[in-house]
């Protein structure tokens, strides 16, 4: 067990940080906002934390907090600017924001370390600490999925007019989704950077948008559980399909495409369906038993 843990400690770490990143994209989607600004926030959070540690010799947690807060604030500002846009137009604008963050990092001179990025940001973050942070984030998100709050979020996404009519402040909700996305994205960036000790401009790119989106859609887009499932799948997939060796990427392609075709609600959807069927079967059996007794 402990050897297994030692061998896979980085994968466990990556799963948790990937989950945070995926959540930063998923939160706005759940509010019906097609924003990928979370990836830009990832970059801002990562660079801020690294700069705080390397240039100003801050300690780990203040650096992480600064990264998350700054990323949250900037993402909220971006959200205020682009809130008028809809659908993929919003998507494009927020992707543009992300790419601009990356270009700023390349051209940031000594501050950002240019193309080579920053290295030597030796954060002191243990897996249990990381897990606690993730648990807190997930716990708070769970509140937005429960009962009345969850229904309001669903209304904001599926029928904003109705939501407005029943007194839900749609605009406010959507703005808040930017803030939350930025905070979580910044947190993901800061913790990833300090765990890895480096951050480079090449990491903050369109590819990261694709990775998180794939994780969410394949896992299940309506709940943090789906994001967790997706993160687990895509972080561990290379380990599971190691036997195909050099054809790994081909297998990855087939798996993603098959998931898109056959799992309309992601893996989470399958699990829920299965659970539902299991429970109803149970109930039917019980009902039948009752009927027989009678």
């Amino acid at each position: 067990m402990s050897t297994w843990y030692d061998m896979n400690v980085i994968l466990i770490q990556t799963t948790l940080t990937t989950l945070l990143l995926a959540l930063s994209i998923q939160v706005p989607l759940r509010f019906g906002v097609f924003s990928f600004a979370g990836v830009g926030a990832f970059g801002i959070g990562g660079y801020t934390a690294a700069i705080a540690m390397v240039r100003f010799e801050w300690s780990t947690w203040p650096a992480v907090a600064l990264g998350a807060l700054l990323a949250g604030a900037i993402t909220l500002l971006v959200g205020l600017v682009v809130q008028r846009l809809t659908g993929l137009y919003m998507g494009m604008a927020t992707i543009a924001f992300t790419l601009i963050v990356s270009v700023l990092a390349v051209n940031g001179g000594d501050w950002t370390g240019g193309a080579m990025g920053l290295y030597g940001a030796l954060g002191e973050i243990s897996i249990p600490q990381l897990a606690v942070v993730v648990l807190v984030v997930v716990g708070l998100l769970q509140l937005t999925e429960l009962s009345s709050m969850g229904r309001r979020v669903d209304a904001v996404r599926d029928d904003p007019e109705l939501a407005n009519a029943v007194g839900v402040n749609v605009v406010l909700y959507r703005r808040m989704s930017f803030l939350v996305s930025g905070l979580i994205g910044g947190l993901a960036g800061a913790m990833t950077t300090l765990l890895r000790t480096t951050i480079t401009p090449a990491e903050v790119n369109f590819h990261l948008v694709i990775v998180s989106l794939t994780a969410i859609v394949v896992g299940g887009s309506r709940s943090w559980v789906g994001a967790l499932i997706g993160s687990i799948i895509f972080v561990w997939l290379p380990t599971w399909i190691a036997f195909v060796a050099e054809w790994e990427k081909v297998a990855y392609g087939f798996i993603v495409a098959a998931a898109a075709i056959y799992l309309p609600n992601g893996v989470l959807g399958v699990i829920k369906d299965g659970w539902h069927r299991f429970r109803t079967r149970d109930e039917r059996a019980r009902a039948a038993a009752v009927a027989e007794e009678a």
Binding site: R84, L88, Y89, M92, F97, I100, Y252
Partner: protein, 294 residues
């Protein structure tokens, strides 16, 4: 003037690539993220064939067009069509089509990377580009062909969509697919044909761009994908003329940045421009507004 001509050539390259994507996205609502892989793989097959036998330009282009059309048609048949069939609505299918495309794109990319070890590949052709001087401006024959093809096909598609019966049907599908089927339009067949045409355009772009650049790498398609995405959104989804305009605006902006020798700021300036334009015109330059009285 020479700069304008260079920008026009670059714009035509972007345009050739973006046209196919814009066609399927703006009409049958499929945002095909495998377009870049189709583009690259068509050129790659051309490369493999010309390693055996040296061929004239026209034959290579024909091969690439055929490969592109076949790949794209297969993608439609094996992935997007099943997704659409299973989805409750076009809207529900959108995200899964996106992810399906991402998965499918990984397959040809992995194959080409493996075969070439990611070194650049080109064609063995009897064609060799000549430099022409017209009114003191230099342009290669390949550049000329690209500009003519880009503009010609761009305008041709615009006119065809406006004037022809099938073009009208495609635009109607873009508005309301179900009602269009009620008008006697065989939607799956038309979608299949449109995807094949788009794939052919990707193949054409792949072959011509490889001639123009001398060689491309397996990853070239991915880089163009994000630019094409930006161009289409900038021009306004559903408007072919908008795509033409968007391609030249992006190329013009990039060329200007290079002319100013701010090479590392290219993405920031061009995506910043897109960001700003979207703020002023949220539906893109020539995008349709919601026309509705009630």
């Amino acid at each position: 003037m020479q700069d304008v001509l260079n920008a026009a050539t670059l714009g035509s390259i972007y345009l050739l690539f973006a046209l196919g994507m814009a066609l399927v996205w703006g009409t049958i609502g499929i945002l095909n993220f495998a377009h870049g892989a189709t583009f690259m793989f068509s050129a790659f097959i051309g490369h493999l064939v010309t390693q055996r036998v040296e061929l004239p330009m026209l034959v290579i282009v024909a091969i690439a067009v055929a490969v592109g059309a076949a790949m794209s048609a297969l993608t439609q048949l094996l992935a997007f069509q099943p997704i659409l069939r299973r989805a409750k609505s076009q809207h529900a299918a959108e995200m899964r089509i996106l992810i399906g495309g991402i998965g499918i794109a990984a397959i040809p990319l992995a194959i080409a990377q493996r075969e070439t070890r990611s070194s650049p590949f080109g064609f063995q052709s009897t064609y060799s580009a000549e430099v022409m001087e017209i009114f003191g401006l230099r342009i290669t024959t390949t550049g000329m062909i690209i500009v003519l093809c880009g503009l010609g096909i761009g305008i041709g598609l615009t006119v065809w969509l406006r004037q022809s019966r099938r073009g009208l049907a495609l635009r109607a599908i873009g508005v309301d697919p179900e009602t269009t089927a009620g008008m006697g339009v065989n939607r799956p067949a038309l979608a299949f044909g449109t995807m094949a045409v788009a794939g052919g355009l990707a193949g054409l772009a792949g072959a011509l761009l490889t001639f123009q650049l001398g060689a491309i790498a397996p990853e070239t398609g991915d880089q163009l994908l994000i630019k094409a995405f930006a161009i289409i959104v900038l021009g306004g989804l559903g408007s072919m003329a908008g795509t033409v305009l968007g391609a030249y605006i992006l190329a013009g902006a990039e060329s200007f940045v290079l002319e100013m020798n701010w090479g590392t700021w290219v993405d920031a300036v061009s995506f910043g421009l897109i960001f700003l334009i979207l703020l002023v015109r949220p539906q893109g330059l020539l995008g349709r507004k919601e026309v509705r009285r009630t």
